[in-house]
Amino acid sequence: MTKNHETATFGTLLRVHRERSVERRLGRPLSQDRLARKLSEKTGLIFNRNNVGNWESDKAFPSVEDRRTLVSLIAILFEYSGISTFEEADRLLDAGNYRSLSDPEQEEIKHWLIKKGIPTPTAAAATSSFRSGRSMLDDVPEAGLKPENNSGGWGLKSLFHRPQAPVSLYDSECGGRPIDLSTQRLQISTSFGAYFVGLLEKPNLYLDLESQIDCPASSRQAGLAPLQRIFWHLEYARGPRILVIGGEGGMGKSTLSAKIIRCLHQEQAIDLILGDSAKSRHIDPLSKNLVHVIQGFYDPASFYDRLCSQVGLPAFSGKDAIAAIRDRLLGRRAVIVLDNLETVKKGDEILDALKTLTSRDIRAIVTTREIHGLKVLDSKSLVVQLQPIKDAASVGEFLNWHIEQHQYQHPALRNLRHDLSNHIPWLVTRTGGIPLIMQLVLSDVARSSWAAVRSLPSLFGRDLLDFLYQARWDELGRLGTAGHTAREVLRWIAREQYHGQLITSRTLTDWAVSRVLDSYLPAAISYLFEMFLVTNRDSIQGNFSIYPSLVEFIEKQAPDPAGK
């Protein structure tokens, strides 16, 4: 089994190195935009994110004559730890048919790093990455990742040899930047809750995995990746106006819709985000408890009321409401989102209304767990089904992305990189390729071992997800006061998140102090990061959240006995 890194293009490697670069202050990878700005500062030339994007997609290359740009690029990647050895730097240059770094160039980079107070690199791979202690190519799953010719090999070739020069309408980073919701924050948090607001405002939201999106392609879309096809449809004046995203819980429907909205916003294709999340529960204002109601509580009238209010209209009903909203939106560019269509009574009626409301400038995105049974889907609707991730290359890419995202809260994840590829087939078989379940199982592995998790019972889909949550919940129960504190923190986050609350480090600490649990809080938080993938989107102020499926699980748990 040889690592075929000779086949990796300059763009692919540049992207991998950039994504490994970490802006420590923000705790996130270096963006294309940031890299371009750093490069401009260092060289005095003008670069923007499109330059970097084009290099990464191998559409353009730095000039072979322009050593200043190339050396600066590598120095910046060193500075942000995206490259850790001169060997890696030379490999990158080699992939673009550039000559290796000369001694003076290496000295220049060292001098730059010393000036920045950063340890200087050596040529030896053994002293490489600050994170894994391994070289970058070892970090990449030995991809493929289906056994080739049944030989059991997992060659890098298939990872690095994606279809050549895919057509791209939008920069792959489109939607990568968080939206500043500004004055729309109240409106969006009222309609969709804090979780969705977090998706719109979170950096590094999404990893584009082609195999996950099942999007029909027309003959005119040959060569377009599925996400690009969606953008094509949404941009095409006579294209479908309603995008329906279907998929089981944990598949990433809301994340994909947030990615699309962010991209449309970034491209200035929309300036209004409207819509609602169909809820199957509400808050009792007196008791402040969540009250569950029967499926179908949400109806078209609630949806129209919400839209009327969002576009500043007094309440209209039925067809009057649809006509009033349509006339109001004329001349504006907006996306109307309906989250959780499956919980709606008369979902077809809302889809019909959306057909009337949408236009060249007004598009709709609908998410649902159930697509079957929707009768009104036609040429005005584009149905995209989110599939489990099953091909090994995508799984490897996804798991590495997960490790990158969660490694600071759960450092043990880093140790999984080296033999990840050996376990991918088992992981896919056991989890059904559902992204959220794979992430949970991977966190179990980091806390125990692959051998330990192989004893998972034969459950699938939602049952397996509940089992994983339950096992963790029980484990917290065995971890003494810190474990019980962690349970209470989870209950509190679940409740506050549903209320739309921003959960900052300060509010969390205040809550713990009020319950005299503050001394157990650090350990409790650590458990939650490792076991429940609690995310903190703001490393400075704190912005904690949990997955909706976990909220549903927690709501079913009986309160802990008093005094625990």
């Binding site: 109240l186 948090s189 004329l330 504006r332 209320h499 739309g500 609350q501 921003l502």
Partner: protein, 362 residues
């Protein structure tokens, strides 16, 4: 039954929400929920004093011009009025009714606003606060005018001016409304003179920059209709320059100036700028304030832009939108015709007169 409310936290929240530079629309929903939660606790405990105190805590938000359409604020206002009634607190009731009248008028519910101002004035008279009674009586003139009762409105203003000393800068308020009525009658030079007098008086009042901004916008409109475009532009820009110091808190006022400015630019054929300006004005008033009275005016301006740029179908849609919103507000179509005459036909008439004066039209 008394409740355990953290009033300090509520006061801090209110100060934050109504601080210049904070657009309340950027605050997520949950932070607002403290208002609804506190109110439901106070109501459950029948703590009417607490309800009044809660309403008072958020006084600034009601006085400002951005958020009053928010359901939580509307409910608190209504419950506070009921609490003041049941406790027999006349002065507080008068204040709350006056504030309610202002917000109803801004939203376009002029009949209900008129009732609120009249009751407020009566209550103030009962408790012996004649000045506040006069100020609320004055506000009825705005409602009468909006409902098409111009003579009644003029009568109210004359009463108010007679009862106000000549050296009282507050006269600027009735003079400004008198200028509107004069403009309604087509006497633009007199209207201009009245507005200039109002601006002069407003400038002598402390913390009056928003009043000045409003009057400058009115003046810009008249000067623009009279064909002095450069001067009108400067007046609008001076008006708009006063808002950043209050960013986020007086969105309706800002949108009002933007609307009038866009009408001037429309007259000059700058339709792209006009559309952008109207979108900005729309965003400022439609999300949280629900200032329907300004909303239909913005929709009407869009209809004219579409008409002048040959997008007839769009124009018809926007006209439908105007009629629909006005119907919900209970406003007559005759009043709409008067409004169109004042805002658009006057411009056309003066433009033609200017052209004729220049010998372009015989």
């Amino acid at each position: 039954m008394k409740t355990d409310i953290d009033w300090t936290a509520l006061q801090e929240f209110s100060s934050h929400l109504s601080a210049p530079g904070v657009d309340p629309g950027s605050i997520p929903e949950i932070e607002w929920k403290i208002i609804a939660q506190t109110l439901s606790e106070l109501l459950a405990a029948k703590d009417w004093d607490g309800v009044l105190r809660l309403r008072q805590t958020f006084n600034d938000l009601y006085a400002n011009d951005s958020m009053t359409g928010l359901p939580a604020l509307q409910k608190l206002d209504q419950d506070a009025i009921s609490a003041a009634r049941s406790l027999g607190r006349m002065a507080e009731l008068a204040h709350l009714l006056g504030a309610k009248g202002h917000n109803l008028h801004r939203q376009g519910y002029h009949t209900q606003a008129l009732e609120a101002f009249e009751e407020s004035a009566d209550r103030y008279r009962v408790v012996g606060n004649d000045r506040q009674a006069l100020e609320n009586y004055y506000m009825t003139s705005l409602c009468h005018r909006a409902l098409g009762n111009r003579e009644h409105a003029r009568q109210v203003l004359q009463d108010v001016l007679e009862q106000t000393p000549d050296d009282d800068p507050w006269r600027a308020h009735p003079l400004q409304v008198l200028a509107w009525l004069t403009q309604d009658n087509g006497d633009l030079p007199t209207a201009e003179a009245l507005l200039r007098q109002a601006v002069r008086l407003f400038r002598t009042l402390p913390k009056s920059d928003l009043l000045i901004a409003g009057a400058l916008a009115d003046l810009g409109e008249i000067v623009g209709i009279l064909g002095r475009f450069q001067e009108a532009r400067m007046l609008f820009e001076e008006s708009l320059a006063l808002f950043p110091a209050h960013k986020g808190q007086f969105n309706r006022q800002e949108a009002r100036t933007a609307l009038k400015y866009s009408e001037l630019l429309m007259q000059q054929g700058q339709y792209t700028v006009v559309e952008r300006l109207l979108d900005q004005a729309d965003d400022k008033i439609s999300r949280y304030g629900h200032y329907y009275d300004l909303l239909w005016q913005i929709e009407l301006a869009r209809a004219f832009v579409y008409l002048r740029t040959g997008r007839v179908r769009f124009c018809l849609s926007k006209l439908r939108s105007v009629f629909r919103i006005r119907r919900q507000l209970g406003l007559s179509n005759l009043l709409l015709a008067q409004y169109v005459s004042k805002r658009y036909l006057q411009r056309l008439f003066h433009s033609m007169k200017d052209l004729a004066g220049n010998g372009d039209i015989v």
